[in-house]
């Protein structure tokens, strides 16, 4: 992230032991690693678009991390609600998809079969749909293509 530095020292690893101050409401962190996040990202984007846009607008107004905590909590709650719902309703498809991502350098294109079943399940049970903004209209999006040129050569 361009305007973000980790709040850690570069020369020495430092874990801040103090907890979050009491005046800041608690929110459970996402706790998902990169592959599940990537697998669920379009569903997070679908359900949490308003919260995400709000948060990014707030960040555009102020770079101070203390200024957008409220919006940030909403973003995190929404994202974890998506992850929890997928875990509840489509765990097997979800797991097979992010396992596939893990084994394929986190490229999306080798995992279309798993992704298709995950998308179907999520669309049926959660009514969340994968949509890539800016894709050419009047033709299937890249994840809906039945015979793509770029696909896994070895199976």
């Amino acid at each position: 992230m361009a305007d973000h530095r980790e709040a850690v020292l570069n020369s020495k690893e430092y874990i801040e032991p103090s907890p979050m101050p009491k005046d800041v409401p608690h929110v459970d962190e996402l706790g998902a690693t990169s592959a599940p996040l990537k697998s669920a990202s379009f569903f997070i984007g679908d359900r949490c678009k308003e919260f995400n846009d709000d948060f990014m607008l707030c960040k555009q107004g102020s770079a101070n991390p203390g200024d957008c905590l409220k919006e940030g909590r909403k973003v995190t709650r929404c994202a974890s609600s998506v992850i929890n719902d997928i875990n509840k309703h489509c765990f097997n498809q979800f797991k097979s998809h992010f396992d596939c991502l893990e084994f394929n350098n986190q490229y999306l294109f080798p995992c279309r079969n798993q992704e298709r079943s995950l998308n179907e399940c999520v669309a049926a049970s959660l009514n969340l749909h994968k949509n890539i903004p800016g894709s050419p209209e009047n033709q299937p999006q890249i994840h809906e293509k039945t015979d793509p040129i770029h696909k896994r050569i070895q199976h």
Partner: protein, 124 residues
Amino acid sequence: MEYVRGKQDLPPPGGFETVKYKRSLPLKGPSGAVIFGTILAISGWGFYKLGQGNLEMRELEREKIWSRINIVPALMAENDRDIYRRERAAMARESEIMKDVKGWQVGQSVYNGKRYNTPSMYVL
């Protein structure tokens, strides 16, 4: 003087066999036009596929970028909370250390301005 009449050299009965002047080379294969056309067709097909593949690459890139855009706010929010927690802890430490110094403002920026700067020093 007597002449001995020699035998005249004549073609064999039935005549000479015909002279084989026709070239007998192995088959040459398809004509230049056919080869040229085939190469053009194969290359054309390949370039078409290449173009389609490039368009597909563009869409794959778009998909990757949007998959990241969708989760950036969540990651940023998490990181912000961590930075905020660390800053508050650092300020608490600072006020504890500097409590005897009069006029000391805890957490005051070293810059003269309202813009936020990520702290470059931490009191451990």
